[in-house]
C-alpha cells in the first residue's frame, strides 16, 4: 500500500474486478499506445511526512516571512496586527466547516454573521447595500465594471492608470467575453489626471474606476473627479482600502456609486496572496443588479428576528444565463474573519489603527526623504508611498532582504522607466526601531 493513497492492493483489485477487468493496465486499454507514456515517470521516491516537513521548512526559511524580516510590503496586501480572538473564533467548527449553505435559512448563525458583515461594510463605505463578499479585491473591481455596464447598457469603462495594474489585468481577463471596452486615463503627478479624464468621457462611458488611496499610495480627490463627470448615468467606481476609511471620508459621501476593495487587511493573514475577500457596496439604484449573495433581516413565524437570503432571483440558480454574475457564492470564512476583526477592534480601535498607519508612514517617508540620494515621490498619502532610490530598486530590495528587511515593491515591473522607484507600506505593526533600522540601512546603501 502506498503511503499517501489509502486503497490497498486488495481493494484496488476488488474495484477492478467489479467493473470486469483484471488489472489497472487493462483499464487504460482504450487509450492509444502511441499517446501513452512508457516506463516509469521520472519522479523522486515518496518521502516520509517528517522529510516533507523539513523540506518545506527549509524553503520557508530561505524566503523569509513577516516574522523573520521587517516588512514594508504592501501593494494590495498588508501586514496588520490580527488580535488572537479572530483566529480563535473563526476556528470554531460551526463556522470553519460550513460552506455557504444551500438551504441557507437553516444556518441562522452564518446568515447573521453575513448580515452583520454587510452592515459593517455599509457603515465603513457610507453606501446603502453591501453584498456578503466577492472573491478578492481584483475580481470585485471586475464585477463593479460589469455592474456599471449592465446598469447603463454601455460598454466603455475608463480606468485610471493609478489603479493596481494586477487588478486591471484581472478585470480584462474576467470581462474578456462580456464585451467591455477598457480605456485608460493617464496620471499627473502620481494621481489621476482630471484633464485626461475629461477628454475621455463620452455618452458611451458606463463607468470610471478610481483607486483611493491609489496603487502608488497617492490620495485621489473623488469629489473633484465626480464633479468632472457631468453625465449622471456614468457610474463612479471607487476601489478603496477599508482600513483607510476609518480616517478618510466615506466614498458614499463623495458621490461614489460602487465601492469595492480588498478585505484582506480586515483580520485576514497575508498568506502568500490568499484566500482573501473582496467587498462590494452600492447605492440604492443598483440594488437589484448587484452580484453575489446578500443576507437580509426578516421575521419568522413566531414574530422573532430572523435572517434570510434575499434578492435570490438575481442569481445563477434561478436566472441561469441571465444572472447578474457567475458568482453565486462568497468568501464566507474570510468575510466572517473581517466581521470579527472589526467587532474586536471596534470603531475607536479601527480609527487608532488607521491613525498609527498614517503617522508611522509619514515618519518613515520624511526620514527617507531627508537622506542623500533619496526622494519622496508621493505628495498626499495614507500608509503607502513611493520613493526614488539610488540605482535600481530591484537591486536594493535584494540587498535589503539579506539585511533582514522586505524594503518594498520595486515598480519597474509595472511602469516603464520606474527602475529607481520603490513602493513602501507601513502598518501599525512597524515600530520606530524597525523604521529607524531601515533608514540606517538605506543611508549606508549607495546603489
Amino acid at each position: 500500500m502506498h503511503q499517501y493513497i489509502p486503497n490497498s492492493d486488495d481493494e484496488q483489485l476488488k474495484m477492478l474486478n467489479e467493473v470486469g477487468i483484471a488489472s489497472f493496465e487493462e483499464l487504460l486499454e482504450s487509450l492509444p499506445r502511441a499517446l501513452r507514456f512508457n516506463g516509469d515517470l521520472p519522479l523522486p521516491l515518496a518521502k516520509s511526512e517528517l522529510e516533507h516537513k523539513q523540506d518545506v521548512q527549509k524553503i520557508i526559511s530561505e524566503d523569509g516571512n513577516t516574522s523573520t524580516h521587517i516588512s514594508f510590503l504592501g501593494a494590495g496586501s498588508y501586514d496588520h496586527y490580527i488580535p488572537h480572538i479572530v483566529d480563535v473564533l473563526i476556528s470554531r467548527s460551526e463556522f470553519y466547516t460550513a460552506y455557504t449553505p444551500y438551504q441557507a435559512e437553516v444556518s441562522q448563525g452564518t446568515l447573521q454573521a453575513m448580515y452583520e458583515y454587510q452592515s459593517m461594510i455599509c457603515e465603513l463605505t457610507g453606501m446603502d447595500l453591501a453584498n456578503s463578499s466577492m472573491y478578492d479585491g481584483a475580481s470585485a473591481m471586475a464585477e463593479a465594471c460589469l455592474l456599471a455596464s449592465r446598469h447603463t447598457r454601455r460598454k466603455k469603462i475608463l480606468i485610471s492608470r493609478s489603479v493596481n495594474p494586477i487588478y486591471v489585468d484581472v478585470a480584462i481577463t474576467y470581462a474578456h467575453h462580456q464585451g467591455l471596452d477598457f480605456e485608460f486615463v493617464d496620471m499627473d503627478n502620481g494621481i489621476t489626471s482630471l484633464d485626461a479624464l475629461g477628454s475621455k468621457l463620452d455618452d458611451t462611458t458606463a463607468g470610471v474606476v478610481i483607486q483611493n488611496p491609489n496603487f502608488y499610495g497617492g490620495l485621489e480627490d473623488l469629489v473633484q473627479i465626480k464633479s468632472k463627470i457631468n453625465d449622471e448615468k456614468i457610474q463612479l467606481i471607487a476601489v478603496v482600502n477599508p482600513i483607510s476609511l476609518n480616517l478618510l471620508e466615506a466614498p458614499g459621501n463623495q458621490g461614489v456609486d460602487i465601492a469595492v476593495g480588498e478585505g484582506q487587511s480586515l483580520g485576514n493573514h497575508m498568506s502568500f496572496g490568499g484566500p482573501y475577500l473582496g467587498f462590494m457596496a452600492v447605492k440604492e439604484p443598483l440594488i437589484r443588479k448587484v452580484p453575489g449573495r446578500i443576507a437580509g433581516e426578516s421575521i419568522d413565524v413566531h414574530g422573532e428576528r430572523a435572517f434570510v437570503m434575499v434578492l435570490r432571483t438575481r442569481e445563477q440558480d434561478i436566472r441561469r444565463e441571465r444572472a447578474t454574475s457567475n458568482i453565486c457564492t462568497n468568501q464566507g470564512l474570510n468575510a466572517l474573519t473581517a466581521c470579527i476583526y472589526m467587532s474586536a477592534l471596534g470603531k475607536n480601535g479601527l480609527r487608532k489603527v488607521a491613525e498609527l498607519c498614517t503617522q508611522k508612514a509619514h515618519y518613515l517617508a520624511e526620514a527617507i526623504a531627508s537622506l542623500d540620494g533619496y526622494a519622496l515621490d508621493t505628495q498626499y498619502f495614507f500608509n503607502e508611498f513611493v520613493i526614488e532610490v539610488p540605482g535600481s530598486a530591484k537591486q536594493l530590495v535584494k540587498q535589503a532582504a539579506v539585511a533582514g528587511f522586505f524594503a518594498g515593491v520595486s515598480l519597474s515591473q509595472f511602469i516603464d522607466g520606474a527602475e529607481n522607484k520603490l513602493l513602501l507600506a507601513v502598518t501599525e505593526k512597524r515600530s520606530k526601531t524597525d523604521m529607524d533600522a531601515l533608514v540606517n540601512f538605506l543611508k549606508e546603501y549607495t546603489g
Binding site: R288, R312, T313, I318, R319, R322
Partner: protein, 125 residues
C-alpha cells in the same frame, strides 16, 4: 381562465392590444397565476429601441424571473411606472392596470404571427 377575445397573444404568454401603430403589452392572467406574487418589474427607458424577440423588461416573482420579449420591433413610448411601487398590479389586474409596455411598431406586419384568443386558449389547455 380569463382570456379577452379582443386581444392578441404570444406563446410566451403575453397579450397585445393594437391601437394604430402602437401596441400595449402585458402578461396573461394564466402567466401571472403561474408566476405567483410579482415582487419587481424592471422596465426599459422610454425611447429605447428593440428588435423583435428582444427582452425589453423583466418580471421578478418570489422564486423565479420571467423575461418580457417584444413580439415586434419598435421603440418604447411608455412603461408602466405604477409597477415600480405596486408590482402586484400584474397579479391583480393583468389586462388592465397591470399593463407593462407601450411600443411604437416599426413593422406592423410582424403582428401577423400572433395568436387569437381562441388559439391561445387551445395552447394552454
Amino acid at each position: 381562465m380569463n382570456v379577452p377575445a379582443e386581444l392578441k397573444y404570444t406563446s410566451d404568454h403575453e397579450w397585445i392590444r393594437v391601437e394604430g401603430d402602437v401596441i400595449t403589452i402585458g402578461i396573461t392572467d394564466y402567466a401571472q397565476g403561474e408566476l405567483g406574487d410579482v415582487v419587481f418589474v424592471e422596465l426599459p427607458e422610454v425611447g429605447e429601441e428593440f428588435a423583435q424577440a428582444d427582452v425589453a423588461a423583466t418580471i421578478e416573482a418570489v422564486k423565479t424571473v420571467a423575461d418580457v420579449f417584444l413580439p415586434v420591433s419598435g421603440s418604447i413610448v411608455a412603461a408602466n411606472e405604477s409597477l415600480d411601487d405596486d408590482s402586484e398590479l400584474i397579479n391583480q389586474d393583468a389586462y388592465g392596470a397591470g399593463w407593462i409596455l407601450k411600443v411604437k411598431m416599426s413593422d406592423p406586419s410582424q403582428l401577423d404571427a400572433l395568436m387569437s384568443a381562441e388559439d391561445y386558449i387551445a395552447s394552454i389547455s
